[in-house]
Assembly symmetry: C2
Homo-oligomer: 99 residues x 2
DNA sequence: TTAGCATATTAGCATATAGTAATATGATGT
DNA sequence: ACATCATATTACTATATGCTAATATGCTAA
């Protein structure tokens, strides 16, 4: 793995490596969702959720679409879905021996 | 995904989300390696490499074994290997359209 | 026990990230 | 044009992270 690749990969991983952001991604796997819907679903403040959505959009993880007053976010980088699958497997395997 | 799980997963991802640490993990996929070997292979300073190895050990990603004066690190959480596979696929797919 | 190699730890600084509260922008309906 | 809802942005604080340089520890061989 050369330097450039390592940095890009690390960037995507950093974009995802946060509890609330993981939940957001999980929410969006089935399809797009409005900011309001996301805020309600994960129970975080509007402001911080918006910041995180924007951050993930900047890093290419999410995309968005405006429809009237609402803005809908979706997963743009489909690889994070695969990543989430790996992680879910991990959790199932390890759900017993959590420290 | 409940809160506890999200936090543990985010923790593992954060442990991995760094260029040098990704390279270290890649190095260790075939098997264990001494600190000196790792330092030489990734071309980082001894001190920082040691810090990162310890950090990943603390988070359960790596394990270590002392043999005489040398210390050998290996991948303890095998799921990061799967994770790395996902990421590699990602890179192959996207190697053309990097911004 | 001393020298020297291998690794770990510490203190300190610079920068990044997470979060809060307040405010701004943008769209809709009246 | 105005009120209101939906979302974004900003300024700010607190904490975490990444790194450096220096020093400490652990092991081995003489």
């Amino acid at each position: 793995m050369d330097n450039d690749v390592a940095e890009r990969v690390a960037d995507v991983l950093k974009a995802v490596a946060h509890p609330a952001r993981l939940k957001i991604i999980e929410l969006l796997v089935p399809g797009e969702m409005s900011v309001g819907g996301i805020v309600e679903a994960i129970g975080e403040k509007q402001s911080i959720t918006s910041q995180q959505l924007n951050m993930m959009k900047d890093k290419g993880v999410l995309g968005r679409r405006r429809d009237g007053a609402k803005v809908y976010y979706h997963i743009e980088n489909k690889n994070v879905i695969k990543l989430l699958d790996c992680i879910s497997d991990h959790c199932e395997q390890n759900s017993k021996d959590v420290k």
